[in-house]
Symmetry: C2
Subunit: 240 residues, 2 copies
C-alpha cells in the first residue's frame, strides 16, 4: 500500500516513555510547531510515538512559546517489529544523501550505516541532520520507530564487523548479476558512491562469504536511486 487516506492528526516522535495519563514535555521545536504553525491549544489532540511504546493519542495540556506538555490517553497501535534491514551507503552530495535517509526510513530500514569508500568525496557526516530527517520521515509515514544511525566507518571496518549471518547485498556495477531478491528476515544492502567501488574494494567484497553480488536491472542508476530500488527489491516478497 502507499499513502494514507489518513488520520491527519499531527504525529510526533519523542524520546520519553509513553503511558496513559503520564504527562510528557515536548521539545521547543515541537512546541513551536504545535502552537504557532498548527495553531493548536489546550485540549487539542495529537499522536505520539517513541519507537518502544507504540502509538498514542494524546491531549495537549499546555502550549507556550517554548514549552508544551501533553498527556497520552489511549494507545492507538502497539509497537510492532521493524524489518531487520540495514542500509550501508557511501555518503553522496547533500541532496542525494538526504533523499536516501528519507526514503530508507519510509521503506522501513532499521539501521543506516554510513560507509566511506575510496571514491567517497566526504569524510564526515552530519549525524544530527540525518537523525532530524529520519524523524520527520517517520512522523509522516506512520512508522512506529526511527532508524538507528551507526558510526561512520571505512569499508574494510564495515566488512570486518558485519555479522556473518546477515547477508549483505552489494550492487557491484558494470557486472551482470542475478536480480536482487529477498535474502531472508535479516539482511543488508550496500550501495557505493557515485563513481562506484574501486577494483580493490570489489575484490575485498568478494572475499566475504556474506556478500551477495546482486543486480538492480539493466539500466545505469544514480546511487540514490540504486538505494531506493535495492530496498524495494529486497522487500519484494508477498506479505514481506
Amino acid at each position: 500500500m502507499y499513502t494514507s487516506n489518513a488520520d491527519t492528526t499531527p504525529r510526533l516522535f519523542l524520546p520519553d516513555s509513553l503511558a496513559a495519563d503520564q504527562p510528557v514535555a515536548l521539545s521547543e521545536a515541537q512546541a513551536h510547531y504545535l502552537g504557532r504553525v498548527m495553531r493548536m491549544g489546550p485540549g487539542d489532540r495529537l499522536r505520539l510515538f517513541n519507537g518502544r511504546d507504540g502509538e498514542w493519542l494524546a491531549r495537549l495540556d499546555a502550549v507556550g512559546r517554548k514549552h508544551a506538555v501533553c498527556v497520552p490517553e489511549t494507545q492507538l497501535r502497539p509497537q510492532a517489529p521493524d524489518p531487520d534491514l540495514w542500509l550501508a551507503f557511501a555518503p553522496l552530495k547533500r541532496e542525494a544523501t538526504e533523499l536516501v535517509v528519507e526514503k530508507a526510513t519510509e521503506l522501513g530500514v532499521a539501521r543506516l550505516c554510513p560507509v566511506f569508500t575510496e571514491r567517497t568525496n566526504t569524510s564526515r557526516i552530519n549525524a544530527e541532520r540525518w537523525r532530524a530527517i529520519a524523524i520527520e520521515a517517520a512522523e509522516q509515514c506512520e512508522r512506529l520507530s526511527v532508524p538507528d544511525i551507526a558510526e561512520p566507518v571505512r569499508l574494510p571496518a564495515l566488512l570486518a564487523h558485519w555479522p556473518a549471518d546477515r547477508p549483505l547485498a552489494a550492487a557491484i556495477e558494470r557486472q551482470p548479476h542475478a536480480m536482487l531478491h529477498p535474502l531472508g528476515a535479516s539482511a543488508g544492502l550496500l550501495i557505493g558512491p557515485e563513481g562506484g567501488f574501486a577494483s580493490l574494494e570489489v575484490e575485498l567484497l568478494r572475499r566475504h562469504p556474506f556478500v551477495v553480488a546482486a543486480g538492480l536491472g539493466p539500466r545505469i542508476l544514480r546511487a540514490e536511486t540504486a538505494a531506493i530500488v535495492g530496498l524495494a527489491l529486497l522487500q519484494s516478497r508477498d506479505g514481506g
Copy 2:
C-alpha cells in the same frame, strides 16, 4: 547495475539527426555549458544522442557565447529499444513531481502521463520544465532517449483511452494486494495523489479489465516513493 565508472565526456541530447561528418548546431544553453561551464574549445570531444540515431562521439568545431557547432565522428552505440513502460501519475508538490520525472527517466520509462484525480491539488503541469528535467536525467544516466510527456488528462479520460492490451498496475492503497510484479513487455503503472484515490475512482478503476490492483509492500509510502518502488518492481525480472 548502477552508476557509471564511466566515460566522463559531456553528453548532450539534441533534436537534430546525427550522422558521421554532418555538422549540428547546439542550443544557446548548450553552447554556454560547453564553453563557459566546461571551458571546452574547438577540437574537444563530447557525446550526442537524439533518441533515434544512437550515441555519437562528436568533435566540437566552434563554440561562442550563444552558438556552438559540432561534428559527429563515430557512432558509439546504436539506438536500442526502451522498455515499453508508461507511468501515469497525479502531479504532486513541485519537488516530489520533479523527483518522479527524474527517477522515472532513469528507470527507463517511455512515456509520462500526467493524470488529474479528485484529490489532485493542481490542474496544470509545466510540461516544458518536465521535459528539461527528463532531458537532464537522460543525459546523466547514459539513456539513449528521453521519455514522451503526454497531454495531461483526467482519470476517466486516461482510462477511456488506455490501450486495452497494456496492463495498468494500480497501487490502490489500504487494501491488501499481491505484491506488484512484472506484467509483460508492455505495461503501465498508475500512482494516485498523496491523499489516494477517491472511492468512486477506485470503483472506476476496478471496472476496467486492464487494471491490475497491486501492492507495494507492507509500508505506507509517499506517492513519489510509490512511483519509484513500483517501477523497480515492474522491472524486477532477471535480464528485464
